[in-house]
């Protein structure tokens, strides 16, 4: 590595053919990803897919068995965790219970022996950034789950990391808090401008926070691209289902739906629940099997001619019930064509 490359790669986190084992069992294999300076990458995968292990590997908490991790163009092999400049935020925050909020946030500054007034100033700044000014003297035990995660985030940012590693930062929180904090997180990360890797099993969390997304399964990255790309074109049926598509149709059923949407036939198709809309006109017809009111619409299970039983929606107040015959329109933007399996 020449110094020139280092400047060129400033702030960039790069994984090259990374592999990790746990107790001799391969957990992560052949992962190659690049996060540009200031970018936010979400690694999305079900539990046990190796995503947290990957994150620990980047932080230097687990040894790599293959490949290498480069930060600023510098190979991190042999660099101990505390010299890597990767701040890791744990799923449950891991605040130090014996230190106050301010002492927790000031911790990374203290270990670098920053002068006291700088610590004070920076802590105030960061607590302000996460919306917790005036919490200085509280102990972690007195905070709510959401507040704790905010403090943990402020503490990670206080390390002034070259890369921020977030391990399921929001999954310990309840749904409404999660949605709100995801918004905040996005804002805080873009303000801080830190290169970030976020690991999660919640696609909502990934959508809300990240620019690019890598889907992991069984230790490998099966798809990688911008959040919109991955969402629009999942690489296979399993990925589509994991991303929140309601079902994947194959063969004639796929053909019927694709034709109805005005798309080219010949592949499989992943269908979101809201892709089929009943209660108006449309190219498909079927018989309602079950109906249930949800917050914004009526959720139906419809036996569609040429497709089979499939989920659909109708506007609230359309008074549909089992046995009713309906016509269905197909929204092409809520479908994803997959390569035939």
């Amino acid at each position: 590595m020449t110094p020139a490359t280092t400047v060129e790669h400033a702030g960039e986190l790069r994984l090259e053919d990374v592999g990790l084992d746990y107790d001799g069992v391969p957990v992560v294999r052949d992962v190659s990803l690049t996060v540009p300076a200031g970018g936010v990458l979400a690694v999305l995968g079900p539990s046990g897919s190796g995503k947290s292990t990957l994150l620990r590997g980047i932080a230097g908490l687990e040894p790599l068995t293959e490949g290498r991790v480069l930060l600023d163009g510098r190979d991190l092999a042999g660099v101990p965790t505390h010299r890597r400049g990767c701040a890791l935020m744990f799923q449950d925050g891991q605040l130090f219970a014996h230190l106050t909020v301010a002492q927790n946030v000031g911790y990374p500054l203290k270990v670098r022996r920053a002068p006291a007034d700088e610590v004070r100033r920076r802590v105030a700044e960061l607590l302000d950034l996460v919306g917790l000014s005036s919490y200085d003297d509280r102990l972690p035990a007195t905070l709510s789950g959401g507040e704790r995660q905010r403090v943990a985030l402020a503490r990670a940012l206080a390390a002034d990391p070259k890369a921020l590693l977030l391990d399921e930062p929001l999954s310990a929180l309840d749904a409404t808090l999660r949605a709100r904090l995801a918004e905040d997180l996005r804002g805080i990360l873009s303000d801080a401008g830190t290169t970030t890797v976020l690991v999660t099993h919640e696609q909502e969390e990934a959508f809300a926070v990240a620019d690019t997304m890598a889907v992991m399964r069984a230790g490998r990255v099966v798809q990688h691209g911008s959040v919109a790309e991955v969402w629009r074109a999942p690489v296979d049926a399993e990925t589509a289902l994991f991303l929140g598509y309601a079902s994947v149709l194959t063969g004639d059923a796929a053909g019927s739906v694709l034709a109805a949407a005005g798309l080219a036939t010949g592949g499989d198709v992943a269908v979101r629940r809201s892709a089929l809309r009943a209660g108006g006109e449309g190219p498909l017809s079927g018989v309602v099997v079950a109906a249930r009111s949800a917050a914004e619409q009526l959720r139906l299970l419809v036996d569609v001619t040429g497709v089979g039983r499939i989920e659909a929606v109708a506007p609230l107040g359309s008074h549909l019930g089992p046995g009713d015959v309906v016509r269905l329109a197909v929204d092409a933007t809520r479908l994803a064509t997959l390569a035939p399996s």
Binding site: L61, P80, H82, L88, F96, Y107, P108, R112, A158, L165
Partner: protein, 548 residues
């Protein structure tokens, strides 16, 4: 309605506690208070002036001062030497780790008399380390105290260290803290409760050490405990003995209150997961070097003991061991008989302390529903810890003076010695069982009950699977404590049926013939028996001795 339910719970609580309470009352509170009464009310009237006079004596000042500084220094050294060992034995992996853990535990349960013998042999003029001139010195006493108690620190801190959540340390490292900074800012603060509570228990053990001070200190160095013994048996100055015992009682109760408070800060709901210990590596070299000191301190006296037992008049010989089966002039029974007596007594003491300990542990660990209930449990918890620190000599002598007339004329009962030993072992048993029982999520029991299991069935399905290993471990501890108990036993033992530690002490007091070698050989037999029991306990891998 609610208050009646609460009352019922309180009644159940007291019902469970009834048997241990009665036993503690008759065999501990009664003798100890009898002993105190004898000293404080010498002629039927309270004589406080006498007590004040005792505390004015220069010798008493010397005894108090020596007790304090020897116990303080012993505690400090035990902690300083124990921490690196705990780190190596519980946070690193290497071959032979389990054996080393067990070996370090042996001294703790080794009969105090044996330890005294081992150190004497090593340091005596002409002994392997005789050149140091430490025989009969205070340094020898402190070294012996450390020898005993380093194991307590290692186990108590080690088991906490082992199950310490590794993630805060990882978080600190990811925030830029170097290993040394992680140790100081995260690991040590997390260990502090364990260290402080281990230190206070060690201080308690050091300050009430009896056998080891008696054999090593002679008349020159005396602690409060040995002084009580000397005052009672040699000088028959019961008033002074009672005054000192009272002082000891007050200090011990204060210390127990402190330890109990410290123990409460530990979060019982915290998940105990044993992390993945890395291999021993080059970075551990400093810890390994420091650990060699306590290791040598433990190994050398024991090795000296074994060597001494097979050297007779400068020759290698098993004569001392052969002599163990033969009757001698100085003993009422052969050493072999004494071993059998010791084992029999230990079996009785073990079942007694297990029965009592199980009841006490069940009482103190159940979740309280009301403030009164919680207070009652805390009080009982503290009460049953009392034998931990109250002079065994006082208990023993108290037995003699209070249980000698109807309806409690137990002087010749073969059960007297096991009962006294069971009480001495009781705190250890409770402290082994209580963490296991307390660690059970109460919702498990509630779930079982809601599925239709009656209380006995709940205990069988929820408690027993968790508690059987600690129960076996506690049995091992009780057995070992009973084998080695000397303080109370020396008063109570029946003349024609001495236990092994008593026989060893007597052999030591009569130099000549083969007596010294026989004492060493008998010590080896006793140590080996105890070691075998402790190795079995270690195999059970219980978080024992971990939650004082």
């Amino acid at each position: 309605m609610r208050s009646r339910a609460e009352g019922a719970r309180l009644l159940t609580l007291l019902g469970l506690a009834a048997l241990p309470l009665v036993v503690l009352g008759v065999f501990f509170v009664l003798p100890v208070s009898g002993m105190l009464a004898r000293g404080l009310w010498p002629d039927g009237s309270l004589d406080l002036a006498g007590v004040v006079e005792v505390f004015g004596r220069p010798r008493v000042h010397r005894v108090l001062w020596f007790t304090l500084w020897s116990a303080g220094l012993g505690t400090l050294l035990s902690v300083l030497l124990g921490l690196p060992v705990a780190h190596l034995l519980y946070r690193r992996r290497f071959p032979g780790r389990g054996a080393l853990r067990a070996a370090l535990l042996v001294p703790f349960v080794l009969p105090t008399v044996v330890v005294g013998v081992a150190f004497r042999r090593l340091l005596a003029t002409g002994g392997p380390l005789g050149g140091l001139g430490l025989d009969g010195s205070a340094a020898a006493i402190v070294a012996a105290l450390v020898f005993f108690n380093v194991a307590v620190v290692v186990r108590a801190v080690g088991s906490t260290w082992e199950s310490l959540d590794p993630r805060p340390a990882e978080a600190a490292a990811a925030l830029g803290a170097s290993p040394r900074q992680v140790l100081w800012t995260v690991t040590l603060p997390a260990l502090r409760p364990a260290v402080v509570s281990a230190a206070s228990v060690v201080f308690l053990f050091c300050a009430t050490a009896f056998g080891v001070v008696l054999t090593l200190g002679g008349l020159r160095y005396s602690t409060v405990e040995t002084e009580i013994y000397l005052l009672t048996t040699n000088l028959l100055d019961l008033q002074a003995a009672a005054a000192l015992a009272l002082l000891q009682l007050v200090v011990v109760v204060a210390l127990l209150l402190v330890t109990q408070r410290l123990r409460r800060t530990a979060d019982p709901a915290r998940e105990h997961r044993v992390g993945h210990a890395p291999q021993l590596g080059r970075r551990d070299l400093p810890a390994v070097l420091v650990s060699l000191v306590p290791l040598a301190l433990v190994v050398v006296p024991l090795a000296g003991l074994v060597v001494g037992s097979v050297r007779v008049e400068g020759e290698w010989s098993l004569a001392a061991y052969r002599a163990l089966t033969r009757p001698t002039a100085v003993l009422p029974a052969t050493v072999q008989d004494a071993l059998v007596t010791s084992l029999r007594t230990a079996v009785d003491a073990t079942w007694m302390s297990l029965l009592l300990g199980l009841l006490v542990a069940a009482v103190v660990t159940r979740r309280s529903r009301s403030r009164a209930e919680r207070r009652t449990r805390a009080l009982l918890d503290g009460l049953f810890m009392l034998p931990l620190g109250v002079s065994a000599v006082m208990v023993g002598f108290g037995f003699l003076i209070t249980l000698d007339r109807p309806p409690l004329d137990l002087r010749d009962s073969p059960l007297l010695v096991p009962i006294a030993q069971a009480l001495v072992a009781l705190p250890l048993v409770v402290r082994t069982l209580a963490p296991a029982l307390g660690g059970i999520d109460d919702r498990q029991r509630q779930a079982a009950a809601s599925l239709g299991a009656p209380p006995w069935r709940v205990a069988l399905t929820v408690d027993l699977p968790v508690v059987w290993r600690p129960l076996l471990a506690a049995a091992g501890f009780a057995f070992a404590v009973s084998l080695g108990e000397f303080g109370a036993t020396s008063f109570l033992v029946r003349e024609d049926h001495p236990t092994l530690p008593v026989v060893i002490y007597r052999l030591l007091g009569r130099p000549g013939d083969l007596n010294a070698e026989m004492a060493l050989a008998a010590s080896v037999v006793l140590a080996a028996t105890t070691a075998v029991v402790m190795l079995a306990v270690e195999r059970l891998r219980v978080r024992s001795l971990g939650a004082w």
